[in-house]
Symmetry: C2
Subunit: 470 residues, 2 copies
């Protein structure tokens, strides 16, 4: 076992107190051990002073009590799959990992809820629920490793939000530990409830800056009996965008409505030459779901809706294998982008669906004028686009141009009545931009709520809010 | 025109200032005029000092600024259909009616949102949206008269919440006026967005105690192409409750899953003798919805699911007329109850769906032991039951027994992990009970948020929070 090297930043008293609460195996202080908690998917690195691995809500409460008294920053962490640095100890402090609080405490099919600890992995919960014909809809692309606690902290979502809504729609209640170690229960176990202010909803998406989750009551949905995948290629982005708006304007939304813009489609052609018809310049991937008895009719109706927008080609997957081949184009994008541009800037902006064509056209202009390649793809049905600026680390002159291009992207999104983040959150990556989006009164009120919940500022400091004037 | 009698409680200065902002027709001070705003559906009466009828957000802001400076209570009011006294001037003050702010400002089908002023009537919005094949799902039973502002203030819901979720799921953003007259914009125009704390969700259900709504951006859903109504009669409540839990445990939820307990069913038989099979002692009313091509299959599948729970009888309405006859039983309840017990106590408690049978059995015991007739019916699919205590004003000894019975009902609901209100809210009617339900830390935090938004306590004072220790 690695020798325990006390972090210089934690006093011997604090370390001893934390060890009494967490036990020998519940507190990591070795350099290599801490290194494992120094990164997330933002690409940034901040070494924490120590890492707490509580096993129970009592241990979380004890840990927070000590940190609150000593003024030690506490950084709640799920699986570290977040994209905005939300789980990083940017001002030092104690990373509080929920990895050992990973029990599914109850599944109640008739009541349509499950009770889970925050460290439960999204896909693991999915497997357990599927046995009973149920699901918890939120499906971030990191579902195989990300945790429910992280999903709630960031209000992260995935493709099926277009049909099922976002994470906050699927939480009934929670138990959290406040900054000073007090336990607070909010919400309930029922699908309706209007007694008092909805603190559950306030806490969801607060990125670990208001409290630490120790238990969540999740609302469940029926697992769809059947799914069908469709692919539609269009001669240009305008056609694809019109189809997206047309599909969203009428009728039941599909359970996924993803798109690849011309730049993204070109990239994927490199690895998957038969991704679509050679004349296709923009691609839509659609999934419909429903009862087995209904699914053929739904796929047929969706094909008909697509064909009204004059695609180059529409394909309905005949079986699971073909469905997988179609989705391969979407799944190939992130790895391909990471390979060709490891330091790419990945933003998850959102615009109203009908402004998608304006967004993509704007991105093309910004790319051309800045000389920074920009690739767009993502959750078209929500207008939620992953905008990737493909930076070239070998080009030292690129830095200012990338920054300028990013600023222009954000300004464009806001001019189209959009938002800077649909599912990644703010963390440290966007905190200096949010005052462009948020009304000053709203920002002022949010800061006041932060001070109310965390007067000493120990919970995930430096996240969400712009540093200036904090 | 009635002579304007200044309320003694408003200074001449305040009146003059309000009149400058609101104009002659925008401020009502006559006795009969004020009387029209003295009641809501709670049966209580509190005469306001005056009534403001602003036509714009600027007039709302100007009104609040004056009231904030002078310390005048402001009571926001929609249509006055609320059940808990939320719109009443219990400490005097100015009722701020949104009735003249009733414009639908935009409907954007492709983006699935509408922008409305708070005074728009729910059903009027529904008619306008239906022209474009869309709907705003929340459907309180007062939909024909209640306003969107009231719906958002109370997070009120109706039968279709079982499928579509509650009001808070259908709001994207809002513009509000804060207590001091400042304007604050929260949320946005997109179906995803995670920038900062979600103040939209905090404001929904805050019963006019945190801010005054002047504009809401509502998320829209497709209008279902077709609907079918089913009725299932059961020999006892247990069978009906088992069917409800069974239906909710698997598969797509119906768009309504209502029930009448034995006492409710007996009442309705008086006015509608052929309400169901003579052996039926508990009744479920179910509605399924979907595409025209799917609806017959859905009705068939629902009938099959119902029949698994051994009902006395299942009926599928063949046409709109039969559907209306079936729903007549549900709609007859409230008028019948009001006729036989004008002073009935009407609570809208919620329990997890599988505890419905326990709730109804417990209500029967409480009724028997207290001698107060209790009738239960409502939104079974959400576990949201309207519990009516049929008080007899002619019986002077009943008062304490009613109060005691009500306390036992609330204790029972909380013991079953339920909540005291699913859609009516707290107002003044339940404020003395909410500390039984809410965690003390949560209540403390909610009071602190109230002080943050409204330090002088002018917004709808005396609502939600227990008076003791406020």
């Amino acid at each position: 076992m690695e020798p325990l090297i006390p972090s210089s930043e934690l006093s011997a008293n604090s370390l001893a107190a934390l060890r009494r609460v967490l036990g020998e195996t519940g507190l990591l202080t070795g350099g290599a051990q801490r290194e494992a908690y120094a990164r997330d998917n933002s690409g940034r690195r901040f070494l924490p002073w120590a890492v707490a691995l509580p096993k129970s809500r009592e241990e979380v409460a004890g840990t927070l009590k000590i940190c609150h008294e000593a003024g030690i920053p506490v950084i709640p962490r799920g699986a570290g799959t977040g994209c905005v640095g939300g789980a990083l100890a940017i001002e030092g402090g104690l990373v509080l990992s929920t990895q050992r609080m990973n029990r599914i405490l109850a599944v109640e099919p008739g009541d349509r809820f499950a009770v889970v600890e925050p460290g439960v992995v999204n896909a693991e919960l999915g497997r357990r629920l599927a046995e009973q014909g149920l699901c918890w809809p939120p499906d971030p692309s990191s579902a195989r490793s990300c945790t429910i606690g992280g999903n709630l902290a960031m209000c992260s979502a995935g493709p099926n939000a277009v049909r099922h809504g976002v994470t906050r729609h699927w939480v009934l209640g929670m138990t959290v530990i406040l900054a000073d170690g007090q336990t607070m229960r909010v919400g309930g176990y029922t699908t309706k409830g209007v007694v008092g202010y909805d603190l559950t909803q306030l806490l969801i998406g607060s990125e670990g800056t208001l409290a630490v989750l120790v238990e969540a009551t999740l609302k469940l949905a029926p697992l769809p009996e059947a799914r069908r995948t469709l692919r539609a290629a269009f001669a240009d982005m305008d056609g694809a965008a019109r189809a997206v708006a047309g599909i969203m304007a009428r009728g039941e939304p599909p359970s996924a409505l993803e798109f690849l813009d011309p730049a993204a489609l070109e990239l994927v052609r490199g690895t998957l030459p038969e991704v679509c018809h050679p004349l296709g310049r923009a691609l839509l991937l659609i999934e419909v779901e429903g009862a087995r008895a209904e699914i053929e009719e739904r796929a047929r109706a969706m094909r008909e809706r697509l064909e009204a927008f004059a695609p180059v080609e529409v394909t309905v997957a005949r079986d699971e294998a073909e469905s997988k081949r179609i989705w391969a184009a979407r799944h190939a994008l992130s790895p391909t982008l990471t390979r060709i541009a490891p330091k790419r800037v990945n933003e998850d902006v959102v615009v109203p669906v009908t402004r998608l064509a304006d967004l993509v056209a704007g991105l093309a202009s910004i790319s051309q004028e800045s000389g920074v390649p920009i690739v767009g793809f993502g959750h078209a049905g929500n207008g939620n686009i992953h905008v990737n600026l493909l930076t070239d680390p070998a080009d030292p002159t690129q830095g200012p141009r990338v920054h300028q291009a990013l600023e222009r992207v954000f300004d464009l999104v806001l001019a189209l009545r959009g938002t800077l983040s649909g599912e990644h959150g703010v963390g440290i990556m966007k905190r200096d931009f949010i005052d462009r989006e948020l009304d000053p009164e709203s920002l002022r009120m949010q800061r006041a709520i932060k001070r109310l919940f965390d007067p000493k500022g120990i919970l995930n400091p430096g996240k969400i809010f712009p540093i200036d004037g904090q």
